[in-house]
Amino acid sequence: MAGYILKRLLQTVVVLWGVSLVTFILMNVVPGDPVLLMLEKRATPEAVERIRHEMGLDRPKTTQYFDFVSKAVRLDLGRSYFTKEPVMTALTRRFGVTLRLASSAYAIALLLGISVGVASALQRGGALDSLVRGGAVIGISAPVFWVAIILQMVFGLRLGWFPISGIRSEWSFVLPAVALGIRYMASISRVTRTSMLEVISQDYIRTARAKGLAERVVILKHALKNALIPIITLAGSELGNLLAGSMLTEWVFAIPGMGKLMVDSILMRDLPMLQGTVLYIAVVFVLSNLTVDISYAFIDPRIRYVKGD
């Protein structure tokens, strides 16, 4: 077990190093001098030179990269070109908002996805099953931002139940969370259905029924518990995508989270902010995958041997 964890940790370090390199390269091949973009055309060549020097942009790229990494390790991602705020401070503040949106969406997706999936498996071939399966395929095929706009139109404008932009109250999170949650609910319900169908046909379920256990106990304690492993894997691997998906939802609902920060910094060409956001999200993604993998090894001992040799 310790060996497996150690191996995964080492792998993660390599991946994180690669992530920092890819991020740095991406930001440094952007056409156009960042200083010129920042100052537009008013600055004199001397002023441009001075600012380049102050920002350390006149140093060799390799030095700049090592500087970027050594600072990033100490959680210093530089300052925004425009607001002069430290990138890390802005990120931490925005991450709270995104996390709230993503976790609400996640809760909706898990609760509804699993219950709908179980119900669908229990009534295999029935009307409910067809409805759930059809709904799931459509849910996977619909763009998150479009679902968000439709929810805005129906529940925000037509019915006036929820606010459609900003985060003025708790209610502001409802529509974005539902919009984001629907997609993941669809994939979770699909996996739950397949996994439950597989488990239900096992001998021990027949045994549990033969013992005279209540159907509720058989389904919830015997079947669902064993059907959970693929669901946990999916839920874990979707966590990062959920964070990324929340970027679009934030954009639609004008929620000041990481996604909005990222798109805004692209539009303003605020390189340190953008570089920081990309790195931050990628690191969160990598670490959440690591956590899932390790916890998975605890849940299902077989993994350690298969994956960790």
């Binding site: 690669g18 890819v22 619909a142 763009p143 439709i150 995508n241 990324a244 999200i281 990628a282 990598v286």
Partner: protein, 313 residues
């Protein structure tokens, strides 16, 4: 002389390989007619009525994209400002947009963008992924380690985030969307092909070809990759809907296809400004995306079940 024998034996193995399943007939007296792999798969594919329906939808979409200038009732760029933001009518079945352009015509032209982005980006991804994956799986060792670690690093970015990053560097435009989405999805091809090639290179026929002195490139191209073919086709088909969705998202944010070219994502982005009094505008491009993505998803799932049941989730 020894050289020709070597060539002959390599050729012989190629021949046996190519005639493959036919030489291993189902046996005498078997009631089952011998049929090719493709005919067999096609029958399995179209047994499912849903798959059949999705194939028809895809065919219609392709026809719309190819013959857009003939089928669209109006020029997608033709502006009639007096008619702007008019609801559905006999002359404009889906209404008009903020510049008085016909929404139906713009949706028909948008098919071109979505289909070409989906298909071309996946072909790019497929070329990169298959090349790197087969090299990693075949050579193993350090080559494999470097490629595998690169796969891990490139998959460490959430898809949309990576797409946004590349589009930021390349700048907006259709060609750049092809490239960005190609660079985004090669890892899944590489991962799968690597795994399959690793298995296949241990097979006896591969070993036989190595013994006979077949060159590495020949073994990979003629013996290993053809066996990965069905997996690759399934991956391409299932990769297309994802690419279409990502293109729509990029164009929605304003980083993808630029106006005046009609793209569904960008239409939704404009339509969002008018949701309070003109909801029709945002509904139709969204439905177009759903129908297209849905058709590819169903067709891809069907194709997977017919060609390569091992890939089933």
């Amino acid at each position: 002389m020894p050289d020709t024998t070597r060539k002959n034996s390599v050729q012989a193995i190629d021949d046996i390989y190519e005639s493959g399943p036919e030489t291993l007939e189902t046996g005498e007296g078997s009631p089952r007619e011998s049929r090719g792999f493709l005919a067999d798969s096609a029958e399995r594919l179209f047994e499912n009525r849903l798959v059949m329906a999705s194939t028809i939808v895809l065919a219609i979409l392709v026809i719309l994209a190819v013959f857009a200038p003939l089928l669209a009732p109006y020029d997608p760029a033709e502006q009639t400002l007096a008619d702007s933001l008019k609801g559905p009518s006999a002359s404009h079945p889906l209404g008009t947009d903020e510049m008085g352009r016909d929404i139906l015509s713009r949706i028909i032209y948008g098919t071109r963008i979505s289909l070409s982005v989906g298909i071309i980006s996946q072909l790019i991804a497929c070329c990169i992924g298959v090349l790197l994956g087969s090299v990693a799986g075949f050579y193993g060792g350090l080559t494999d380690t470097v490629i595998s670690r690169s796969i891990e690093i490139f998959s460490a970015f959430p898809e949309l985030l990576f797409a946004i990053g590349i589009m930021f560097v390349l700048g907006p435009g259709v060609i750049n969307v092809f490239i960005a989405l190609g660079l985004l999805s090669w890892t899944s091809y590489a991962r799968l092909v690597r795994g399959q090639v690793m298995q296949l290179r241990e097979m006896e026929y591969t070993q036989a070809c190595i013994v006979c002195g077949g060159s590495n490139a020949r073994i990979i191209m003629r013996h290993l990759l053809p066996n990965c073919f069905s997996t690759i086709i399934v991956l391409v088909t299932l990769g297309i809907p994802g690419a279409i969705l990502t293109e729509a998202s990029l164009s929605y944010i304003g980083l993808g296809v630029q106006p005046p070219t009609a793209s569904w994502g960008q239409m939704i982005s404009t339509a969002q400004q008018y949701i309070s009094f003109y909801p029709y505008y945002s509904i139709s491009p969204g439905i177009a995306i759903i129908v297209t993505v849905l058709a590819f998803n169903i067709f891809g799932d069907g194709l997977r079940d017919a060609l390569d049941p091992r890939l089933r989730e």
